[in-house]
Point group: C2
Chain length 111, copies 2
DNA sequence: CAATGATATCATAATATCATGTTATCTCCT
DNA sequence: AGGAGATAACATGATATTATGATATCATTG
């Protein structure tokens, strides 16, 4: 194994860490949860989560720009869905890992 | 499917989002990268990444408390390693997803 | 072509996260 | 016991992220 990180590594690592920021927020995981079983309109996500339309829309914007969700317009409705199976795999693996974990775990994030 | 999130969902989602915070930082992904091929001492991680000992130690603390890494002491050396295969699966899946992605992707994280 | 419902955007204040420097602790060696 | 190397802890300032409320846009329907 190499002794230090090279430029290519650094670029990849930057992308990976930013990629995970998409998942590191309670509201956004709620959105993913809403979409686990298929596409939904913004209003449906709003109703499902109980969050404000503004908040949902702001988060959808970043999920969309990050290619974590797909968008499809049908008239005045806009349908969102989870981008692909690998995103679901990541979410389900996380779900599996936290299954038997106490409520306080991960609170040390500070940092 | 249920119409809204129940208490159990909310608890699970909180854990999942906090879980991902462990991965949503450049320095911490550098640490994971250091450990991809096996355990390393703190000093080895410091040398590999080029970060200060203080910084590495702070991040290791949270990775440890989150059970994202294992710790093993041998005399004055402390060896860290990636907690389990599922953590590696998540990291490798992310790596695969970002493979053909432009450098600016995910910069929308604000939010 | 207004009114309405659906969705997106933007600015700001509140909050969380991170880097850094300093100090403390622990273990080995002599 | 005391010095040196390895690691952890802590406080503070800097920066990034998030929630909120207000406003704008767009598509449908009457």
């Amino acid at each position: 194994m190499q002794a230090t990180l090279n430029n290519e590594d650094i670029m990849r690592i930057k992308l990976v860490s930013k990629f995970f920021k998409g998942f590191a927020d309670y509201s956004r995981i709620c959105i993913f949860e809403s979409l686990m079983e298929g596409e939904k309109t913004v209003t449906e996500i709003v109703d499902f989560t109980g969050f404000s339309q503004s908040k949902i829309s702001n988060h959808l914007k970043c999920l969309r720009e990050s290619d974590l969700v797909n968008v499809r317009q049908d008239g005045k409705y806009i349908y969102y869905s989870i981008y692909d199976e690998r995103i679901k795999l990541i979410l389900n693996t996380a779900r599996e890992i936290i299954e038997n974990v106490s409520e306080e775990k991960y609170n040390c994030m500070k940092y």
